[in-house]
């Protein structure tokens, strides 16, 4: 039996074209011959496959037809809207991202603004009285600081110390203050706690230690004997000190202690002092417990709290000695301390009269 007859027989068998006799014979052959049986099964499978193939092709054709008919109305419509839709969905994503980014940016900038404003407010609060009172002075002080830094001289401090206080070093109208308070001033006025103002002029300036000696030129000024002395020795670390200054219109008392024997950037002519210091305190006297002047407040470190600097009184003393004798007779500033046994309240009460507000106009 060749392949052709076999396939014909199988086909006829499966199609039901065989008569009874033939089918019985073929079924017998199928049973006796496994190879024939296998061929029958394979044939069945093939026909089935072919059928499915046909169905699928037909189905596909139908779908294509539907698809094509849709193309006129519906596919075009979705594709028209769908293509922009694609863009739209992308942009929607973008929008989400952008919105997120914008939110972050907004939060960042707002918090930055809030932070800056807060920082600013702190600054302005601290300087509030001072700014109103001696605005020019502050500007000038800042300029002085810049000049100091530029000329690489010993800087009194970081920006943040502004002038405003001076104290008497003699009973005939000599007052010491910071150089940066009066630098470049047209006119200087000294005001005491009673509100009396006197015109003053700078007679000596030492830029390197940021000190200036003023002479009250007003004839109305009447000197008093000083109750304190300039202490020639160095104050020791840990020594209690206090100060009187004009960070406001009113004289303000503050106390602290000597923190270190050198000042800003290791300046050996100054102390580091832990004492509340505000703009306007510049030039304020730093007193020890006996009421003797151990230093002159010059500035503070802006980067950290509680760090102030004061020029040592010994330095001031040396300066005074260097001054031309005709300007400041020695005996004028060599006094006896009369505050030693008093309570702090009494010391301050007495000292107030010798601590002045320095007003600078230009």
């Amino acid at each position: 039996m060749n392949d052709f007859t076999l396939i014909r027989d199988i086909e006829r068998y499966l199609e039901g074209e065989m008569n009874e006799q033939e089918r019985t014979a073929f079924e017998a052959l199928r049973q006796s011959n496994p190879a024939v049986n296998e061929q029958v099964l394979m044939h069945q499978q093939l026909i089935q496959q072919l059928d499915q193939y046909g169905q699928r092709v037909a189905f596909q054709e139908k779908m294509d037809k539907i698809h094509a008919s849709m193309a006129i109305d519906e596919v075009l419509a979705p594709s028209k809207t769908a293509t922009p839709k694609k863009v739209f969905t992308i942009s929607k994503r973008l929008v989400t991202n952008m919105a997120a980014a914008a939110c972050i940016a907004l939060v960042t900038s707002l918090s930055t603004i809030a932070f800056m404003q807060n920082a600013n407010r702190q600054n302005t609060k601290a300087q509030y009285e001072d700014v109103r009172r001696v605005l020019n002075n502050i500007q000038r002080s800042q300029n002085a600081l810049i000049n100091d830094i530029n000329s690489k001289k010993k800087a009194p401090a970081n920006p943040g110390t502004y002038g405003g206080t001076g104290f008497a070093i003699s009973n005939n109208g000599y007052v010491v203050t910071n150089y940066h308070v009066i630098a470049g001033a047209d006119s200087i006025y000294i005001q005491n706690t009673k509100g009396e103002a006197f015109k003053a002029a700078s007679v000596f300036e030492d830029i390197s230690s940021d000190l200036a000696i003023l002479k009250i030129t007003d004839s109305t000024f009447k000197g008093q004997p000083l109750p304190y002395t300039l202490k020639p020795q160095h104050a020791l670390r840990g020594e209690a000190v206090f100060t009187l200054g004009y960070p406001r219109d009113e004289i303000v008392y503050g106390e602290g202690y000597i923190s270190a024997q050198t000042g800003f950037n290791g300046d050996s002519a100054a102390y580091q002092v832990s004492i509340p210091v505000n703009p306007g305190n510049s030039g304020a006297p730093l007193m020890d417990s006996k009421g003797d002047v151990v230093g002159i407040v010059t500035g503070k470190q802006t980067t950290s709290d509680g760090i102030a600097f004061a020029v040592k009184s010994a330095h001031l003393k040396r300066l005074l000695e260097e001054m031309p004798k005709d300007k400041l007779p020695k005996k004028e500033w060599n006094h006896k301390n009369r505050l030693g046994g008093l309570t702090r309240v009494d010391q301050v009460k007495k000292l107030e009269d010798f601590v002045y507000m320095v007003k600078v106009y230009n």
Partner: protein, 191 residues
């Protein structure tokens, strides 16, 4: 209630599909294609991708329905959408797309249909083999076989169409063709 009604309608459509009712097919096709198109476009596919994808899903539906074993317990739309997503996922994984797999696709993979897909793949494989074999058959064998087995023409009609003197001759020709087809098909299929 509404949900059930919808399923009833879908069931009827499916029955129509089983009966080769063209209108049922058209309804299913036109109602569901746009959402698939949107999905594919959303994942940066083309309109042709959408068409291929949807038609493949339709074939799966059709063949399942033909087998009579398909019990619809979700909406047709849901079924087609899930299948399309699955197919699209596969395409992204294995095809020429070198895109990263969208997470959304991973999440909505039809868990139910592992079997359906395996079955479909096998059938698809068979289909491709048959398609190729038929393509290699040459005339008149291809047309004779198609006419007889697919278009279900009678041997008489085929004999007339091809100018055979009688249906016996046509049959003999068909047997020869069938023999070749069988040989070619199983060569391919088994390899």
């Amino acid at each position: 209630m509404k949900h059930n009604q919808n399923i009833e309608r879908d069931r009827e459509l499916l029955l129509g599909l089983t009966r080769n009712d063209d209108r049922a097919l058209a309804t299913i096709y036109t109602e569901n294609y746009p959402s698939i198109l949107r999905m594919v476009l959303q994942y940066n596919g083309s309109e042709d991708d959408a068409k291929d994808l949807f038609q493949e899903a339709m074939i799966i539906l059709y063949e399942k329905a033909q087998k009579g074993e398909f019990d619809l317990y979700s909406k047709l739309k849901t079924f087609l959408y899930a299948v399309c997503r699955h197919l699209w996922l596969k395409k992204l994984q294995t095809g020429s797309w070198q895109l990263a797999l969208p997470d959304e696709l991973k999440e909505v993979l039809p868990a139910e249909d592992g079997n359906t897909m395996a079955e479909h793949e096998e059938k698809d494989q068979q289909f491709r083999v048959m398609e190729m074999t038929m393509g290699n058959m040459g005339e008149p064998c291809k047309t004779i076989l198609e006419d007889y087995y697919i278009r279900k023409l009678s041997m008489q009609d085929i004999a007339e169409k091809f100018g055979y003197t009688n249906s016996e001759n046509a049959k003999n020709q068909k047997y020869k063709c069938l023999m070749r087809l069988k040989k070619l098909f199983f060569e391919q299929y088994k390899s």
